[in-house]
Symmetry: C2
Subunit: 279 residues, 2 copies
């Protein structure tokens, strides 16, 4: 799957690109079945909601072949390389569960500030491909995005983190000592965007919600503002998110790096494969 | 404002009826201004969110003339009388605030079980008129309803309350002793609907969301299933809800009735007025 010039321009302008029918029904059903098994494992990679249901499961590809294959699929890798103008590797991957009538919300935030401040990632040349394993509609907590908000760099509304210098190991040591990595994974986000920032941007650009059938993929920029409501509907909203980073933007060595299941340090460029179900 | 036969049939079938342009812009702006003053008062009628912002303010008409006039407006009273086939009085009224980026969600529930179990209201011949003081859109937490769900009576999924007998004062005394009336007003609802009940009904009837411009009014049945998400948008979702009860369905005498600001015991039928702004 190669993106057209028009699609590349849309992404550049809006900070996201939604494409339907990237995965077929057989593929999403297999992934859903495997997912339901994966998230049963009680381990540090599994993050729970306040109500005890599963919120996220990090790096399922560490232990599951199908999810490992998704990460390397040409359908995701080729567009990501085009959008980042470079070869790519996987920086992070996770299942976000948001189960029917249980899944909680995500506050407005950008992703890249976590990777910059917590992992030392030099630049926001990074994106996430979100695979819809169920249909996402108005009622099961679609991702909300503010088009164009990725253009203005990082907003550190909450923490006012000073600029991260990947070569300043003292800064990282001090910072990481006070920050539990868990605070970036639960419903109370560490770096979030405040009302005035959101209001200003929404007035200019509005809000869009990423809705579509199972098998759709949303590519979104590491700095685009996004959020999502809780899921009040009887329909699950299972998604798989793979974060692709430019190989030229790999993580530096820092003291006390976050666990590998949150910030992968295998920077080998991916060689794309074409099939997920047959081997 | 008199409802047409078609509108009456729609309400009977769906359990709700949404009408736009019932209030004009001047009226909603006056009400918003007064509302912003009213909710500043720190008193038992004011209910807060977990985050400390205002969630609801009960019976604003006790202390504010404009809100007292709304309750008696022909635009609300005449349709309510038609829908209930009787003269009506106000059983309850409240402002629901759901402020931008602060307002929390409402779980799936029916309203009438509270009024039956906590106030002794004999039958579900009761409805609420919800006045939109702001535009309600996809992003600021519209009310979700399941069409037709009002037809099957009360579901006591959570509490399995036995049938209330308004003449059984012993039952009420026992029940009320254990139940703080506060638990019906906050985000953790006392009578809520479980996933299986919702899933069954949604499969048959789907979900609708009540969206429309400021000045719209949603009439909804005391037994219709409804819920709403939190407000992630920078747009307030202020609403005023007036519950009209059939005079023939008035509350019996019970021991330890809930406070008058939650369950009004003035059963005089309303004489409709036609204007809210001029006196």
């Amino acid at each position: 799957m190669k993106l057209t010039k028009e699609q590349l321009l849309l992404y550049k302008e809006n900070g996201y690109l939604l494409i339907e029918n990237v995965f077929n029904k057989t593929e999403t059903e297999v992934l859903l079945n495997e997912m339901n098994e994966i998230i049963k494992e009680d381990c540090p990679r599994r993050i729970l909601e306040k109500n005890g249901s599963v919120r996220s499961f990090f790096a399922p590809h560490f232990s599951n072949e199908s999810f490992d294959k998704i990460n390397r699929l040409d359908r995701l890798v080729v567009p990501s390389s085009q959008l980042l103008s470079d070869e790519v590797y996987v920086h992070q991957s996770k299942i976000n569960v948001k189960a029917a009538m249980l899944g909680d919300w995500w506050e407005w935030h950008q992703d890249y500030p976590y990777w910059k401040n917590d992992d030392g990632m030099p630049r926001p040349d990074v994106l996430t491909a979100m695979v819809f394993l169920n249909e996402i509609n108005e009622f099961n907590g679609p991702m909300l995005l503010i088009p164009g908000s990725h253009k203005e760099g990082e907003f550190d509304d909450k923490e006012n983190i000073i600029d991260a210098d990947p070569n300043d190991s003292e800064w990282y040591a001090k910072y990481l000592k006070s920050a539990s990595f868990m605070t970036s994974l639960t419903a109370n986000l560490k770096y979030k965007l405040e009302k005035n920032t959101i209001a200003k941007w929404v007035e200019k650009k509005g809000i869009v919600s990423a809705k579509g059938p199972a098998g759709s993929v949303l590519f979104f920029h590491g700095n685009v503002f996004h959020a999502s409501s809780n899921n009040l509907s009887p329909w699950d909203r299972f998604t798989y998110l793979v974060t692709y980073n430019s190989v030229d933007n790999k993580l530096p060595n820092i003291p006390e790096p976050r666990p590998e299941f949150i910030a992968i340090r295998n920077f080998e460029p991916i060689k794309p494969i074409s099939e997920i179900l047959s081997s």
